[in-house]
Subunit: 207 residues, 2 copies
């Protein structure tokens, strides 16, 4: 089984890359079905699950959560439930044994036993802000400063969730096989090239 | 003018990649001529220059060198001369205006004004140790522990030299356009693929 995980900074185009890569490689791309499965497992509405996961509700967790006597807020309790359900779903997807691409969700850590190809996608701040503005829902009018804060918040949330699962830090090279800076690059044009790397990587000597 | 810089962890195959990449792209590859030019400029013997640069003599510099009143040792004074000469040579190479590949020497920082493609090559510890053993001069018999220490020492020296030139840290993604983990990969097989990325990168939208 071949698994590609795509970790990414918010606004760097990692999600688009993941989708295109799955297409190009003929691998399954898991996204919406993860949300649906979490909703079923955790008994929350899909929209709520998506909101908690995407909006970085996890940002507000104290870093020592689990080691202190502070009682978690209802939002924190819900977020925990959702994250636990997500981890189970990701494990189940791995157990399915199908070649696939998974974006985010610390799948690289959760599925480490399957020896996945782990990509990290990032970009310069200005490039991420441009990308966020291009795909913003109509009517969303954040100032530069608000958008910048939002990007930081989401990335921070991703990094902190990861810290619950592993000591290997989010965005540090040790965790990844290839790190791609997408500043000024077209994801569409880059995809065939990354697919080529993936094919090469899955056939490497060490396998 | 197109410049590719290759920064690399000791033992990760970055030098081999740089040479092969220059071949493939039809770019100049500067290596021996840098040593020769430094020797001329600094009035040291080429072997000594090479030794100081490769053996990580810089490791022994106090990190605050230049800000303290400690008088530098003769070795430190020589190393400083050599590093200053190296920086000048790299600038002169940039001013030549020829498409080229430069491995190491913080060329990514020194030539930043030319908007180079900056690659970083790294690998897992075991892979680097294997590679070092394969290319060790005959008769060199380091224990695992000695070799591990040597790898750390050289990388540390590279990171510290860089810190004199920039606040952007060695080996952190912010400084690079592509970071490649060569563990279990063949540099030779990977080169055409990276050359392809380079061609794509030099034609990117933002240029």
């Amino acid at each position: 089984m071949k698994i590609v995980t795509v970790s990414r900074e918010f606004g760097s185009g990692g999600r688009e890359l993941g989708k295109r890569l799955a297409d190009q490689l003929g691998f399954a791309y898991y996204d919406r079905e993860i949300i649906t499965a979490i909703a079923e497992k955790s008994q929350f509405h899909e929209d709520y699950v998506e909101n908690v996961l995407n909006q970085g509700a996890f940002t507000h967790f104290p870093i020592t959560y689990g080691h202190t006597f502070t009682y978690p807020s209802p939002l924190q309790q819900n977020a925990t439930k959702i994250l636990v359900a997500q981890e189970e779903i990701i494990r189940e997807l791995g157990a399915k044994g199908k070649d696939c691409v998974i974006v985010g969700r610390s799948a690289d850590v959760i599925l480490a036993e399957y020896d996945p190809l782990n990509l990290f996608v990032y970009a310069e701040k200005e490039a991420k802000m441009r990308r966020c503005r291009q795909r913003a829902p109509e009517g969303e009018q954040l100032t530069d400063r608000e958008l910048e804060r939002r990007i930081k918040q989401v990335d921070n949330s991703r990094a902190r969730y990861r810290q619950l699962l592993t000591s290997k830090r989010w965005g540090r090279k040790e965790s990844y096989h290839l790190m791609i800076n997408t500043t000024d690059l077209s994801i569409k044009e880059m995809t065939p090239w990354i697919a080529e790397f993936a094919r090469h990587w899955f056939e490497r000597d060490g396998k």
